[in-house]
């Protein structure tokens, strides 16, 4: 090949490679639907307002959760990312994102908690100033809002969202919807201080096993989440947020989880509020909790 053709080929190759390498960064962000179908003016800083799953098998995840909780799905195709919104009674209650798991990776899918904020960028500064780390920089999505993902000082990951359509109203979750979130961490005391600084929570110290903490994070006179020491047998487990789905009958739901290919990690057991709870995983390994929350007011409380 003559030299001048080589040079032309070289230049064309460079241009193509440049375009290919920068295209993802220049692409418009996916057009995610708003958090609320009907926008409101409510903002509840520190409330878990969305839970999002990253899974290597979106189709199987949709099949599992639709059979378990009667969720329906709305597919979002944008920027080459496969994403689905889960709906329950017409309300968006979760997001599911397809992400291939590279061969040899010993990781599991996870449900990510999104906490409501007013100013994502200000929160990012507070995270860094207080020992946390930025895992995903603040990014805006039309209709959805601005969000970012962080790791707290103990290593648990969480996301924040400043929703442009407002935050979900303060209502009791229906069965098949997220009702509670717990942070299981290596240092509950320090973690509670970190999140209190970020979200201005009140922190309530409840009775717990010796050497352990069960702390309640509250805002607007409502409980938002708990912070717990790791269980006795797993003091070295990786800190993480665990989200709970409200169910009417934990024991019955366990049977459905297993029949659909999921796994039971913590068998049904009574919790402080008097109902049964359990921890399970979906067929791909994503972990979540099941929590009964009786409508009646006269249930026995476990102290």
């Amino acid at each position: 090949m003559p030299l001048h053709l080589h040079r032309q080929f070289h230049a064309a190759l460079l241009s193509a490679l440049f375009v290919a390498s920068t295209a993802p960064a220049l692409a418009d962000p996916p057009l995610l639907p708003p958090l609320l179908e009907t926008a409101n003016a409510e903002h509840h800083v520190g409330k878990v307002i969305l839970v999002q799953l990253v899974t290597p098998d979106l189709a199987s995840a949709k099949k599992f959760y639709s059979a378990l909780f009667n969720w329906t799905f709305r597919d979002v195709q944008a920027g080459g990312i496969r994403h689905a919104e889960a709906l329950h009674d017409g309300q968006v209650i979760a997001g599911l994102v397809q992400k291939d798991l590279p061969p040899g990776q010993t990781r599991i899918p996870a449900w990510m908690s999104f906490l409501a904020v007013r100013d994502v960028d200000a929160l990012k500064k507070a995270v860094v100033q207080n020992g946390g780390r930025v895992l995903s920089e603040p990014q805006s999505f039309p209709n959805r809002g601005r969000q970012a993902t962080f790791a707290d000082p103990q290593g648990a990951t969480f996301s924040v969202l400043a929703s442009t359509s407002g935050d979900p109203p303060e209502e009791l979750a229906d069965p098949g919807e997220w009702i509670w979130s717990s942070l299981l961490t290596s240092n509950a005391d320090s973690a509670a201080a970190f999140y209190q600084t970020l979200f201005d929570y009140e922190v309530f110290d409840l009775p717990a096993e010796k050497g352990h903490d069960h702390l309640i994070l509250a805002a607007e006179n409502l409980a938002r989440a708990s912070v717990n020491s790791m269980p006795v047998a797993r003091p070295d487990a990786h800190p993480h947020w665990l989200n709970f789905m409200r169910v009417e009958n934990t024991t019955a739901m366990i049977g459905r989880v297993v029949s659909l290919g999921g796994h039971v990690l913590v068998a049904p057991r009574p919790d402080r509020h008097g109902g049964l709870m359990a921890v399970v995983s979906d067929p791909q390994g994503a972990i979540f909790g099941l929590l009964e929350w009786p409508d009646g007011e006269n249930k026995q409380v476990n102290k």
């Binding site: 692409a27 990510m112 402080r272």
Partner: protein, 112 residues
């Protein structure tokens, strides 16, 4: 090395450089599995480090759920005067422990 070979070598070097740059950006950050290639799109790309969370150790007194509002106004841990100082600012002892929202969706229930 003659000119055509130099041009080919330069092309190969350039391809290799771009490949290195473009893939180097997607190395998971500090073991958290974050992938900036995907984060460009949705800002979320995380797999928890594998396993080991569960499979035992949840004793009968290990509670993670919310407090359920009852007429005793909530109860607190009694650490006594010699309890270790806390890193957080505890809510005043006179404050009842809050519970989760109790108002049914779209209804006018019994408040929070």
């Amino acid at each position: 090395m003659n000119a055509p070979r130099k041009a080919l070598a330069a092309s190969a070097f350039t391809i290799g450089l771009f490949a290195l740059v473009s893939t180097g950006c997607v190395v998971p950050a500090d073991g958290y599995g974050y992938d900036s290639r995907v984060s460009v799109g949705i800002g979320l790309d995380y797999y928890e480090p594998y396993g080991s969370f569960y499979g035992g150790g949840w004793n009968s007194g290990y509670y993670v759920g919310p407090y359920r509002g009852f007429d005793n106004g909530g109860y607190r841990r009694d650490r006594g005067r010699d309890g270790p100082p806390r890193s957080f600012h505890p809510a005043p002892g006179t404050r009842p422990v809050p519970t989760i929202p109790s108002r049914p969706r779209g209804g006018r229930g019994h408040g929070h």
